[in-house]
Symmetry: C2
Subunit: 240 residues, 2 copies
Amino acid sequence: MQSPPTQFNQNHLLAALSPAELERLKPHLELIHMPLGDVLCESGGRLSYVYFPTSAIISLHYILENGSSSEVAGVGNEGMLGISLFMGGENTPTWATVQTAGYCYRLKGPLLLQEFNQGGPLQRVLLRYTQALITQISQTAVCNRHHTIEQQLCRWLLLTLDRLNSQELVMTQELIASMLGVRREGITEAAGKLQQAEIIRYRRGHITVLNRAGLQGHVCECYDVVKKEFERLFRDVKKS
Amino acid sequence: MQSPPTQFNQNHLLAALSPAELERLKPHLELIHMPLGDVLCESGGRLSYVYFPTSAIISLHYILENGSSSEVAGVGNEGMLGISLFMGGENTPTWATVQTAGYCYRLKGPLLLQEFNQGGPLQRVLLRYTQALITQISQTAVCNRHHTIEQQLCRWLLLTLDRLNSQELVMTQELIASMLGVRREGITEAAGKLQQAEIIRYRRGHITVLNRAGLQGHVCECYDVVKKEFERLFRDVKKS
DNA sequence: GCCATATTGTGCGCTAGCGTACATACTACG
DNA sequence: CGTAGTATGTACGCTAGCGCACAATATGGC
């Protein structure tokens, strides 16, 4: 395993704070490792911390009455978990689990809220992030309706790749299937095609992306929409 | 046509403002009629007004490169159009069109922003609404993945019904199909079943709901999730 | 090095929904 | 009152993805 990513600015939101804000928060930011599968928040549950991933990826997903599930958005080093704390309502019908093991900074909810209510750049950044998250969720809705499993797999792989430094994801087909809300066999088939095209290599819980451009050739428009929105978020934030 | 709904409190968000806030805004709130199909915002376009529907319903939807479309959320008298104004980012990849003709109060964007930045109850209400909107969009994503056209039609009818005072919607099957992102024939079939079960009556662009409980018997869990979230929104708002 | 277990591959038949084409029936408007 | 145009009904073959069953294979722990 690589050494833990201990720079605050490895999370883009923390990186976008004003120096004064970051100094105030620093003593309370706690670096923790999050193991795969860890449940951070159940449906209707209350978060006592907010999490700023540096290398971990968290999945926001909904679990149906019949037990099947599907992801509505992911949270990586571009974002944070726990927007409902400052948006109000305290909890959501959504679950949050660790989809890729790694590190997060966490911060006690009330502290974040206090800083948010000052109305400084942090507020602006967090609201802007929430807007980008809305775009991501919307695009998931559209993609679920209109695109093939293969296209969705490519979208998902690219988004996940963008949140990592590495070309390799630790991830079973079963897990990907439950994220996309499809059968595991559907992923086997789509991944098989990508492997034949030498775009990815698969080995028992590890996917290596050999040819990123290849993925982009198979992905639907949804990936670009989400990606551009995140780029815009950080462009805007810098301007401020 | 009924007489226009001219009470500010017919929009639940306006109704939830503090008296002082409402007094400040009142002189600037302009009641306007919105005809069916009116495009309020194109993808990437900038809104100069925010809209608080009283009897109109606005659809937030995405249009794919190939021309097909699907709705990610609706906005009726429970909400407002234009959250990106205070969330930041100014625009979204989403379109906003009038799905049911009716009335809205509109307000110049900068005025809303100014009030929002005061950090009073209005800010709290709008953020809380945005949280509920996120739930609605998330549930659309889940529903698109897992539920049948019939279930989705029921969800959509119930949500629309909740935003109206009437049991009759003015709505062609073609339009519903483009909302749900499915074929028109799919709606014909699903609506036919509901009609046989004497739950709705269909006549050329008009749907009358005969038996609301019947709809609830055919709907998926998604409707309840969204509905409860909106109820919670206004419960919370009253508490404050 | 071996084995239990988790993971992936494959092959059915089945269904929902798509795309297309065309027939029918309202209804608004002249 | 007739007609043009819009809205709805229906039919048919096709495909993606499902549900299920089971075979094959890697891997970590002993």
